[in-house]
Symmetry: C2
Subunit: 381 residues, 2 copies
Amino acid sequence: MTAPSSPAGGAITRVHVPLPGREYDILIGRGVAATAGTLVAERLKPARAALVTDENVAAAHAPAVADALEAAGIAVTRIVVPPGEATKSYGRFAEVCDGILAGRIERRDVVVALGGGVVGDLAGFAAASVRRGSAFVQIPTTLLAQVDSSVGGKTGINSPHGKNLVGAFHQPSLVIADTALLDTLPVREMRAGYAEVVKYGLIDQPGFFAWCESNWRGIFAGGPERDEAVAVSCRAKAAIVVRDEREDGDRALLNLGHTFAHALERITGYDGARLVHGEAVAIGLALAFRFSARLGLGPGQDASRVAGHLASVGLPTRLADVPGGAGDADALLDAMFQDKKVSRGALTFILARGIGQSFIARGIDAGDVRAFLADELAAGG
Amino acid sequence: MTAPSSPAGGAITRVHVPLPGREYDILIGRGVAATAGTLVAERLKPARAALVTDENVAAAHAPAVADALEAAGIAVTRIVVPPGEATKSYGRFAEVCDGILAGRIERRDVVVALGGGVVGDLAGFAAASVRRGSAFVQIPTTLLAQVDSSVGGKTGINSPHGKNLVGAFHQPSLVIADTALLDTLPVREMRAGYAEVVKYGLIDQPGFFAWCESNWRGIFAGGPERDEAVAVSCRAKAAIVVRDEREDGDRALLNLGHTFAHALERITGYDGARLVHGEAVAIGLALAFRFSARLGLGPGQDASRVAGHLASVGLPTRLADVPGGAGDADALLDAMFQDKKVSRGALTFILARGIGQSFIARGIDAGDVRAFLADELAAGG
């Protein structure tokens, strides 16, 4: 394919997601969001758009995107929600659905999510539900959303019973990943998203992990390495999603590190001041490799190398890194067993035989997990 | 196929819905609900079930169904909601989702909706959403639900902006239509469901309409005609749904009479004491045929025959039949234009060239509709 230019002059990378009947493109590049109006108008031909953002994004990026949509002849209804995980609630779901309906957005119009994972998950579930399915465009504004949550169609909200327990599989019609939007992202959020980038290398691309070890500074600094990392990550996720859209099989590999991570998030009450998702994932990745080594599945030096790289970019890698503490082994285990990925009481982990050699390990013994966690905690770890 | 027997000794009719990847059976017969436990256990092998009912059904039918499920080794969590359309709300949606989660129903377990359309729509949307999709079984307890809402996968709740505006397409894994459950149904609800039965004849089966004219008493009395009518209706709906699951085309034919009906329901504030859905549909069917005749599309005697048959079973057929009045032509027209089936401001109706000859009529002029409604109102009609 030709590489068209963005208004800022950079190349645009197209990652195609060939889901039968619902194929879509992810367009990646510096400045590509400025062309959102033309892109959406040409591809979806909507008369109206509901632009869903949070209060932070509304101030920083929404005016430019709204202007771009309106310049392309699309009438825009703005829906602004508070930032933060608490926004993924039943109440905000109702509010966004009603906002879309008040904007008279019809099934052939479009819901545009402009923001991080919270906005994408919430707006996506609303788009899936209003009139039982409206077209949906993601313009992710965080690294985490660009490499993970905006791709693959998982949308949803939280329940008092746990995170992301209520939602829909609803694929976007288009994802516009403008890597220049990350220039103003706080470094803590960049690091959190970077944990998911590293994850793709750890799952099945050892070469990409090695590339990350050499090139992470360029990703953080906004060099061409950033576009490359987003593109490789989106390609990796898209390939898995196309193989297994509804997580009946391989898609579970994307949960590498996440069983531990979800337990840590639950233990810390989803308090982003203590631990954000990507930080929990970083600890979870390190734990998954150390647990794999302890079970004799993979070499200990790979576990050290993973933790070493995550720590070098400033990410936490040990239970002792959780501000306020990670509880005790039983509390952690209980938090894991509540996880929605538990099937019939048997614990399933994604473990690794080495960097880039992850696999789905079923029927892991809870006693082994408890002993591992207790030792990690005792080691200050 | 062989016709297995129900415990009550009657034959069970199987209607297969061959949606690719999500095919399912509708089992119709007197007493078939008593075998719900075995049927669900054999086909879905769940460990647990959430049994969603309303307060009326909970008293009449839930104990027998819960016993049947438990006798088959399925642990049952009961979720009871108030009866009535107001239950299809965001708040009850949250309540049912959380009830399913509290019951630790996993993706391979099952949500069972035992009730009329309200329970089926609400529980179905919750089943679609919890863990982004749980298995779902319908045991409809009204004629309307047995011939219409339990088949086809439309689920949802109401918004302040209108009815059924928020939901999901989520096909059941099994529908158990026990026609004996209708023996205790109030005659007004039987009639309301019967309007939808008649609709299938009017859409494309003139022979079935004629059969209804001769056999409706048996349907109401619970003779074998009832099972036959439910089976023909389910087959008709299934055939259309398989052709067009997501209502991009032919499925709109199922809305015969419904653009008028939804407007009447809106005008009467969805007050079931004044007008229930099936009654609004009966008036809508009669109006659709009279409007078709007025536009010169079909013969006036067919319109008379339709209204005559609906009136003979005790259904309303005229705007004057709406208790408290149907408003004026402008109010009705405005209520129609708010309808979610309006596309880009152009009015789409399902009209008919005769009994069994319905078609999708696009771009119908609002002025023609207003004049028709004004004349109907002026004629006391």
